[in-house]
């Protein structure tokens, strides 16, 4: 009997400006300006609630704590992820854009570098986001996990290119220049489809 088709939604309650964390057992999840706000789904219609829930679950299963911040002044994945890493007590952060592209970053790395990159948003399902959260938490524990296996589907590129560009532009419109990152509390609600 498969799990009942529950559709979850998430709202992000702002709790104040994002501060540097001091606890080494903390991973920061840095969200792009339009994530779970202007947009509610990824490029393949995976609900942002599910993306966030699986990232948090991957981190929790490893016995590590998580903090969610909303970045407002940029839509660039590397910038968002590196900012998250600078705020994170362990120095490890996961950055994610509305369309789904994601990255694991670390505070001492050059901004344009990363620990793991997931560029093809159409290929990222709930299971991949769970593993991204888990690997980020394992780096925070000083472990060296195998990188998350991702399919490389050359076919996906053309089909989704147009939609990706559109979502990218829309996300840009949501940028609020020179407004600092805020800490947010995700509140999940169950809505039976």
């Amino acid at each position: 009997m498969a799990t009942p088709a529950t559709e979850r939604t998430v709202s992000l309650r702002e709790t104040g400006p994002a501060e540097r964390g001091s606890r080494p057992d903390e991973v920061v999840i840095a969200l792009s300006p339009a994530f779970a706000g202007e947009f509610t789904k990824t490029i393949v219609d995976l609900p942002h609630a599910e993306v966030l829930r699986q990232l948090l679950a991957g981190i929790e299963e490893q016995g590590v704590t998580a903090r969610v911040v909303r970045v407002r002044d940029t839509a660039d994945l590397a910038a968002i992820s590196h900012l998250g890493a600078k705020l994170s007590g362990s120095g490890i952060a996961v950055g994610v854009l509305s369309r789904g592209t994601a990255m694991i970053h670390q505070k001492d790395l050059p901004r344009l570098s990363n620990l793991e990159l997931f560029p093809q948003s159409p290929l990222l399902d709930a299971e991949v986001f769970r593993k991204i959260g888990s690997n980020a938490a394992r780096y925070a524990k000083g472990e060296s996990p195998e990188p998350v296996p991702t399919r490389n589907d050359q076919m996906a590129r053309p089909r989704w290119q147009a939609k990706a560009a559109l979502l990218h532009l829309k996300e840009f419109d949501c940028i609020e220049a020179d407004r600092g990152p805020v800490e947010v509390k995700p509140v999940f609600e169950l809505s039976h489809a």
Binding site: E60, G63, D108, L109, Y139, S144
Partner: protein
């Protein structure tokens, strides 16, 4: 005779070395330089000429001399000793009737022991539910952790005595964090659908950093499943297999079991000294080597046809046939080195990809083909250089002569050439005669043992682990060496080494793809070197020492590529120290270290009686 310019050339399995010298009328030798090139083609075949010529040209160029001035080239009579390698697993662990889950996942949930009947989560609620007996809930793939927790909580509220759970996904911590009643949960059971349903089972999870106490104790199993003594004896291998785990599941199946089967690897037949001795491969390395010692000198070695070891030696003979061109039947194996090792292998019948450390035996075998082919190489070198060239002397004798140029060495002196395929020893007695032997097993066997024990697919990584010390990258700005000291770097280290065990090679950090700790990798590296080079050093010296008595030896000089290793020479010196032997790495002409011994020896031999 006026002074003559000569070059000694030593063609080895992997390296070809040259030594240029001026020999005066009175036989006095002035060394002018050395050179080292990769051997071209297989040792003892005409293809070697290119490498030899290249080495001669380089050593001449370095000394500013021309080919024209060259009087003669002296090549080593390499008794081509060719080694082959083979490895066979001799134990196999099998779980029958899914009686045990022992994969020890990284993040189990909860703590303690739960004993009850296995029930699929689908049948937990509704009227069919079982609210008399304690139950262990089995959760298949596809269930979300929130739904699993909700279902278990409502079952408990309905009076079902849920005592433990077994999950397909990596959700144990997520589920236990959401349960009202704290229970032990084992997760990441890939083949969870094979867990027998309606059977009495036990799940145990120890606190962080601890190991289980009940399911790893035969009498713990007897208490949990109320077993009689005969049943307890039958399940005791399950307790042994679960020792050291942090979590485990045992299911009471009628005849379910875990066996550590010995794979019939076959019998080795050792012919020598007029006898034929037989020894089971799975008796282990010591038994094999003891039997070998009783059949010295060995004429030939065969493996029982149709068995693993039969296949192993056939494989070695095949490589020899392409190398020597001789038919397989003519190939005589004159020495073998057996080494016990462990190979991580998946457990047959495991439900969650369990891996067990199986025992294996690695065999290095050595063939000596007597036909000398170095003269053919010499002729070709002479042709290409337009100077005379010939065979100057046998490898062993030349090596020990070269060793004498090491400061502090005197006759009687023994050398051990720590090469890639074989380990060669030679003794130059006070009266000047030389005895030389070759034993199977050297650098390549060490690399193979490291690769198999650390499950490294890439042979290049295994070679690096062998050659250089280890480190652990603890942050992007510092790493800890294997001796515990910390080193800081100015530029952040590359991401692919972050938090990894690395090899400190001259061209940078090479990550070792293993989940072992630095100390565990270090132990595997040193053990492999000890079991090959310390064993072979003593074994080879015994064959050259007067009456096989090591105490009769004075000076031992270590030569060859593996003598450049940062720890092998110390290990061999420690192994020989109790016998009162002065053992150290050679230093040819006081400057070349352990390289160039044979090439230098060829020049000295020529200088004594210019053939």
């Amino acid at each position: 005779m006026d002074t003559r310019l000569v070059v000694g050339v030593d063609v080895g399995n992997s390296t070809t070395e040259a030594c240029l010298a001026r020999v005066g009328p009175d036989g006095a030798v002035t060394y002018l330089g050395t050179a080292l090139k990769h051997t071209t083609g297989v040792k003892g075949t005409p293809e070697n000429a290119d490498g030899a010529v290249a080495a001669v040209r380089e050593v001449l160029a370095r000394a500013g001399a021309t080919v024209g001035e060259l009087h003669t080239v002296l090549l080593n009579e390499a008794t081509p000793v060719i080694s082959g390698l083979a490895m066979e697993t001799i134990t196999e662990t099998i779980i029958t009737e899914s009686t045990m889950i022992g994969h020890n996942p990284a993040t189990p949930g909860g703590e303690g022991l739960g004993v009850g009947v296995t029930v699929p989560i689908g049948e937990l609620l509704g009227d069919g539910r079982d609210s008399e007996r304690p139950v262990i809930v089995v959760v298949p793939h596809g269930w979300d952790f929130d739904d699993v927790a909700a279902t278990l909580n409502s079952a408990v509220r309905d009076g079902v005595d849920v005592v433990a759970a077994v999950l397909a996904g990596d959700d144990a911590v997520l589920v236990t964090n959401r349960l009202e009643k704290r229970i032990p949960v084992v997760d990441e059971v890939a083949a969870v659908e094979k867990v027998p349903v309606g059977m009495l089972a036990a799940v145990e999870v120890a606190p962080p950093g601890r190991t289980i106490r009940t399911l790893s104790n035969s009498y713990g199993l007897a208490t949990v499943f109320a077993l009689d003594p005969a049943q307890t004896r039958q399940v005791s291998p399950v307790a042994r297999a679960l020792t050291g785990n942090r979590s485990a599941v045992v299911i009471r199946t009628p005849t379910g079991d875990v066996t550590d089967r010995l794979i019939p690897a076959g019998v080795l037949e050792l012919r020598g000294a007029g006898k034929t001795l037989r020894v089971e491969v799975d008796a282990g390395a010591d038994a094999i080597m003891d039997t070998l010692a009783r059949a010295q000198p060995v004429d030939d070695v065969h493996g029982e046809p149709g068995t693993h070891v039969g296949g192993m030696l056939a494989q070695v003979r095949d490589t020899m046939t392409d190398v020597t061109g001789q038919p397989a039947s003519e190939i005589a194996i004159h020495d073998v080195l057996a080494v016990d090792t462990i190979v991580p292998a998946e457990v047959r019948g495991g439900l969650a990809g369990e891996v067990a450390l199986e025992h294996a035996v690695a065999l290095a075998a050595m063939v000596s083909t007597d036909r000398s082919r170095m003269q053919a190489v010499a002729d070709q070198v002479a042709a290409e250089l337009g100077s005379s060239a010939g065979v100057g002397g046998v490898e062993g004798a030349m090596a020990v002569r070269g060793a004498l140029t090491t400061p502090g060495v005197d006759r009687p002196v023994a050398v051990i050439d720590l090469g890639g395929g074989s380990t060669d020893a030679a003794l130059l007695s006070a009266s000047g005669e030389t005895t030389a032997v070759h034993v199977a097993g050297a650098g390549e066997l060490v690399t193979k043992l490291i690769a198999s024990e650390l499950a490294l697919d890439d042979r290049e990584v295994a070679e690096n682990v062998k050659r250089y010390p280890l480190g652990k990258v603890e942050s992007f700005y510092h790493l800890r060496h294997e001796d515990g000291t910390v080193e800081f770097v100015d530029e952040p280290l590359p991401p692919h080494v972050f938090a990894r065990v690395v090899v400190m090679t001259p061209d940078g950090l090479v990550p070792v793809p293993t989940r072992h700790t630095l100390d565990a990798v270090r132990r595997v590296r040193r053990e492999a070197k000890r079991r090959v080079f310390c064993v072979n050093a003593v074994r080879a010296l015994r064959q050259v020492a007067p009456q096989g008595n090591l105490r009769a030896l004075d000076f031992v000089v270590l030569l060859g590529g593996s003598a450049l290793d940062f720890e092998i020479p110390d290990m061999i010196a420690d192994a020989l120290a109790p016998h009162g032997i002065v053992c150290g790495t050679g230093n040819i002409h006081g400057s070349e270290g352990p390289r160039n011994a044979v090439a230098s020896g060829l020049v000295d031999a020529y200088a004594e009686e210019p053939g």
